[in-house]
Point group: C2
Chain length 207, copies 2
């Protein structure tokens, strides 16, 4: 690659911006905060991303694209083996990819979880951008839920899935904090958290 330093600068900006926005929120984070900690020039942000908003979209996309892909993969795997799958299996396929993100890089696992939770709870235009990137998983899972719970209306399942997402966001925002459900980020503890969460939510889905 003839532009190795460029890639590094771009990634450096993305990494630092993701961490700061996870802590302080989008409006609470300034480009100057980002370039200061990333040790890059202020103009580099506009050169690589165009604007603060487009920088945010790039961060979201870097997370959301492989995440949604993995969710849909797991859903597809389920449909191949058991049809219709149980509510627990569907919820596990939905919740595992986002919660396993926290087991990634040593220093970034908390950041990534908090970022996801934060950016879906903030005002416009943040919420709109995050929704656009994360939402392609909703319809396929709604369809699957409909087949597994045929006696519930689609509107019912929609607001219940909404509460599933709300619980996911809460767990993500609190990830790593003492007393939180996802306090420890060891792989086996993450798996245990997923199981508890699935049990809690599956009971609600059936109510």
């Amino acid at each position: 690659m003839t532009t190795a330093t460029t890639t590094d600068t771009k990634t450096q900006i993305l990494d630092v911006a993701e961490r700061l926005i996870a802590e302080k929120g989008f409006t609470g984070t300034t480009l100057r905060n980002i370039v200061s900690e990333a040790d890059v020039n202020l103009a580099a942000v506009h050169y690589h991303f165009g604007s603060k908003e487009e920088l945010f979209r790039a961060i979201v996309r870097r997370i959301a694209v492989p995440l949604v892909e993995r969710q849909l993969d797991m859903l597809e795997q389920l449909r191949k083996t058991t049809d219709p799958p149980s509510v627990e299996e569907l919820l596990t396929a939905f919740l595992t990819p986002p919660l396993e993100l926290v087991m990634g890089d040593e220093h970034y696992r908390i950041v990534r979880a908090q970022f996801m939770g934060r950016c879906r709870a903030e005002p416009e235009p943040v919420q709109k951008i995050a929704h656009e990137e994360f939402s392609p998983n909703v319809e396929p899972f709604l369809d699957a839920l409909q087949r597994s719970l045929p006696d519930q209306s689609r509107s019912q399942l929609l607001w219940k899935l909404d509460l599933v997402i709300a619980s996911l966001i809460r767990v993500q925002i609190g990830a790593g904090k003492p007393g939180a459900l996802l306090e420890s980020l060891q792989p086996q503890d993450v798996q245990a958290t997923i199981q508890k969460l699935v049990a809690f939510l599956a009971a609600g889905m059936r109510s």
Copy 2:
């Protein structure tokens, strides 16, 4: 009262600030936005509240104090009649006061619900302030839940109550939006929403 206009100015600032922060968030709302729409002078904010942060605290307190009081009242009523109360009764006592807020003033019912949801999902110092004002309800309800579900550990009940609050926040943020659980704000629809939410969450609490 010798300071009738003062009270009006103060209330006017509180009302407009609450609405704007509900829409745009704390950092996304400027004092100039507030005084412009409230048709008061910029200096009046600092005269009456001291700073933007203290203004926010005043808004939160105006909502939280009577709300928490009402939650604890309903809890006390329950303990007088049935001991221990059912999980459904406890959740109803917890969820009814915040969700009935949306039935108040004609123009402000959506605003108030959104404000509550928003300010508990934002970064510091907003979250800290909101937590300080809203949290006095947690311990009493945890105690009551412990008695109604004696075979679950306190740490279990804690993260489950956390998910209850997360669901409440989600419902509040989406209040009034098409497709949301709390789409209509008519009193009978709010009651129906509370019942659905209680059924969903009570099943999870018992899981």
